[in-house]
């Protein structure tokens, strides 16, 4: 996958989450890109990112196995970080297409506004989107808590009812090819 081939306009936002954090944009940027931070609030996952557009992006399990793999689409510290996102570490996900995750960081008065957008280039079933809808609010709340209080919140990383079936159906039928 190369930057030249990546057409960002084909991706449509399906979920958009916003949180306000009592921290500087630089601190929020560090929390998103430094494994010492992500390990605390992202279900134990360590981020491993090459700090440049076109670089590799990964989220690793504590034992070093790859959970998420992708490519950095935009690296503009401390304002905008976008990467593609493929679930590698769970066999049910098979060849589901990459989604695009974008973090936008803006100063807002005394605090910083963090917007996370999950965008897709196919008509993703609601049952699959439910996975992100269940996980992201907890992850973002925990990130906020780590920066504001030094302590993470409990983040349960489990899949909602019906998600595995929806993934299996999509992988079998490949609606993104239509």
């Amino acid at each position: 996958m190369t930057q030249g081939k990546f057409d960002i306009t084909r991706y449509h936002p399906k979920t958009v989450y916003v949180t306000y954090i009592a921290a500087t944009p630089e601190q929020v940027w560090q929390a998103l890109t430094d494994p010492a931070f992500t390990r605390q609030y992202f279900g134990g996952l360590s981020v491993d990112v090459e700090p440049r557009t076109g670089g590799a992006f990964r989220l690793l399990y504590p034992d070093g196995r790859v959970h998420i793999a992708g490519e950095v689409i935009e690296w503009s510290p401390p304002r905008r970080f976008a990467c593609t996102w493929v679930v590698e570490g769970m066999k049910e996900f098979g060849e589901l297409p990459a989604c695009l995750v974008t973090y936008e960081i803006e100063r807002s008065g005394e605090s910083t506004r963090l917007t996370m957008t999950e965008a897709h280039d196919w008509d993703v079933p609601k049952a699959i989107l439910a996975g992100g809808a269940a996980g992201w609010p907890a992850i973002l709340s925990s990130l906020k808590s780590v920066l504001e209080t030094g302590k993470p919140l409990a983040v349960a990383m489990s899949m909602p009812d019906g998600m595995v079936e929806a993934i299996q159906k999509a992988v079998a039928e490949k609606p993104w090819l239509k």
Partner: protein
């Protein structure tokens, strides 16, 4: 947090959030369908929800797309529902759902 409770203390605004939960990325016109209310009134309700950070928006060309942002509600839940209660409450909610579906 006051803004969140104020925003939620209205039936129409809760209906708008339900609609956005069912389908993210709707425009003002989409949301006006089946609401017995002027476009202006719906727009005002959406502004209150946006100020409370319960609705996030994305500009796409000339359109503004609206999304449910549940993060503030999650933060409220975290304040009063701890790590250990959550599992038990989920179990109770599942039980209630299962019994009501019978």
């Amino acid at each position: 947090m006051d803004a969140v409770f104020r925003a939620l203390a209205d039936e129409t605004r809760r209906t708008l959030l339900d609609r956005l939960r069912a389908e993210g990325g709707q425009t003002l016109s989409d949301l006006c369908v089946r609401l017995a209310m002027t476009r202006q009134a719906v727009s005002k309700h959406l502004a209150i929800l946006e100020d409370a950070n319960l609705v996030a928006t994305v500009k796409r060309g000339r359109e503004k797309l609206h999304y449910l942002n549940p993060v503030p509600i999650h933060e409220i839940a975290d304040r009063w529902i701890g790590k250990f209660e959550r599992g038990r409450l989920d179990a109770l909610a599942d039980l209630k759902k299962a019994l009501e579906e019978k």
